[in-house]
């Protein structure tokens, strides 16, 4: 039976052992079609860039498209585990897909290394020695936004997120480090495209600033409408709405907005400079945070194979936990629940020539771990 493994781009990049058994077989499940495909494509491209650079012929990557559907992701995971006998799974962009795949993959004895999604359940009560997040814990960027808002002297913020678990986590994360008053706290509908009503509330609320978490098209819609509304309160949000791909669709409306991120293309370290240059060279576009996280994930996995054989699970897990690789984020280590300890920055949206992008303006949090380590017993 033909099995859709190597999509064209992946096949070109994947370093396949010529007939020989690969030492490590990685299964990547990510979103390559439908809405949100841009995030998965960046994840894949960043990941494969690192694999290619390593030039290792003992590592094989199989990639498949989850179409952003949880049931499809589960089905792919089952296939990769049962038929293709992968050693490690990675690549999922969305929290709901991660919740569908990760616990059962861990239960079947596989290591899962997250390139992006890191929901609270998997950091707290549902944590596992077989689960690592290379990106962050989902709340981190919101916490940093809260810390930034508190530090910048805001004391009457209007905060807003879609009404779904990640949205609720977002506002809670923000409030964890923001101690000022709230002019308003609003949950919007997931997938909502018109924010006139919320903007009117913001205008009437007497707030001194706005925090919002609206990933994807929702953020584009909000920013365009907000810019046109004449409300000119300062805005802060997590990096998701200011990603390289999304910014071009928002345009001027995003300029000067502050956003929090664990990574930025102008982050000053050698690994990052090399990564940004190589990514532009290979793909002809600027990398996004998803590409950077994919790149780091691949390098972490590659570093672990230098120290331990993937078949020796305990040793391999220990090797992963050491995080002995050159992260494009500079310093990087794992907290006790296998989530990163890292700095989180405040960026500002700028225009470089015709391209909208971000530059770092300050550091919001230093050596931030996460709020769920106490709940994690493993």
């Amino acid at each position: 039976m033909a099995i859709r493994t190597h999509l064209a781009a992946a096949a070109a990049l994947a370093v396949l052992a010529g007939g020989a058994q690969a030492d490590m077989k990685i299964g990547m499940i990510t979103t390559l079609s439908g809405g949100g495909a841009s995030l998965g494509i960046d994840t894949r491209d960043g990941f494969m860039l690192a694999v290619e650079q390593a030039g290792r012929d003992d590592v094989e990557v199989v990639i498949d498209d989850d179409q952003r559907k949880p049931d499809v992701a589960v089905q792919i995971a089952d296939r990769m585990i049962q038929s293709e006998k992968v050693d490690v799974l990675t690549g999922i962009v969305w929290s709901n897909l991660a919740m569908a795949v990760v616990p059962s993959a861990n239960a079947q004895g596989l290591v899962y290394v997250s390139t992006n999604a890191a929901p609270a359940q998997l950091a707290g009560a549902g944590c596992s020695p077989d689960y690592f997040s290379v990106s962050y814990q989902n709340d981190n960027l919101h916490e940093a936004a809260g810390a930034y808002a508190a530090g910048a002297g805001f004391d009457n913020m209007f905060i807003m997120a879609p009404n779904y678990p990640a949205g609720q986590d977002s506002l809670n994360g923000f409030k964890r480090f923001y101690d000022g008053g709230l002019a308003g706290e609003v949950y919007t509908e997931l997938g909502q495209t018109d924010y006139a009503a919320e903007i009117a509330q913001i205008r009437a609320s007497g707030a001194d600033g706005v925090f919002f978490f609206l990933p994807g098209g929702m953020g584009i819609s909000f920013l365009k409408q907000y810019a046109d509304s004449g409300v000119d309160l300062p805005v802060v949000g997590p990096a998701f709405s200011f990603d390289q791909a999304i910014l071009q669709a928002v345009g001027d409306a995003a300029l000067e907005v502050k956003n929090t991120s664990t990574w930025s293309k102008d982050l000053d370290n050698a690994a990052n400079a090399a990564f940004v240059a190589a990514f532009e060279e290979a793909y002809g576009r600027l990398p996004s945070i998803y590409a950077a996280q994919g790149y780091d994930t691949a390098n972490l996995l590659l570093s672990a194979t230098q120290k331990a054989d993937v078949s020796d699970k305990a040793a391999f897990r220990a090797a992963l936990a050491e995080a002995d690789f050159d992260s494009v984020r500079g310093k990087f280590s794992f907290a006790s629940n296998n989530h990163p300890v890292q700095d989180i920055y405040v960026r500002e949206v700028i225009k470089e020539g015709d391209i909208y992008t971000n530059k770092i303006v300050s550091t919001a949090m230093t050596d931030r771990d996460n709020a769920y380590m106490q709940e994690c017993r493993m």
Partner: protein
Amino acid sequence: MSRETLFNAAILALLVAVPGWALAAGEPFTITLATRAVIFALAAVGLNIALGLGGLVSLGHAVYFGIGGYAMGILAWHAQSHTPLIDGWLTLPGTKSMPVIWLVAIAASALAALLIGLLSLRTSGVYFIMITLAFGQMVYFFAISWPAYGGEDGLPIYVRNGFPGLNTLVPIQFYGICLALLCAVLALNAALARSPFGLALNAARQSPQRVECVGLDPVRLKLVALVISGAITGLAGALFADLNRFVSPVMFSWQMSGEIMVFIIIGGVGRLFGPVAGAGLYVLLEHLLGGVSEYWQIFLGGLLLIVVLFARGGLAGLIAGRRVAHD
């Protein structure tokens, strides 16, 4: 034996043979794929009772599919987290037992079908289509924003639920359970179509005024059909959740409703095995075309158009020929 009987027998034989072939060929994942097809088929057989027999073009069957899924998810989640399902004057625990979960799934989706049917059957034709679609969307939004059971993130169930005497974690045994249920429901469907109820429902689809004039209430007949149909699709939802060990609001999405309907059309409307053939073909296409192109849904769309415009009987119509009168 008529051609349709042969067609049905061939499909059944194929379904029974798949796991043996998969094990022999060293493609164990094919069993999981076949399980997916069988569960989709079950959902579609459910819809086919409303659609094929009752003429009810319900574009909201994902509601029942999702309710079945959440019946499994909620019961199993309470069982795995050792929290009571209801904790008041009566304390009810969750459960990991498939038969109990199925019963709850059937009852809950039947109840939902009854409520939606009472409202939507006040109308007919194109209103009915739009209203079922709209109610589906309502439930979808509710599921996303209702925080108690994971909202959009859904509910992961770490270990597949159990069935007395079987090890459901072994793919082939779970497949067997699903196939047995599909056969049972197909038998039920066949019995219904021939029964006095089926006769009356069939007539209500073709000529509601005729049914009224013999003293029967066509709306009530259709309502009962919708309830049976919803219950079966709900059962399929519970199995689907168990296959994935996960439920999420995606099961409620309107695309899901559309897909369930597509299974029937590709296979053949009102034909006993039409939905089975359609679901099988769909899963196969998804698997094969998905490997050829990221844009495989264009091909699916094209195929669907061709079937609707030029091959109205679907697969069953092509292979088994035009339908002949019963008896």
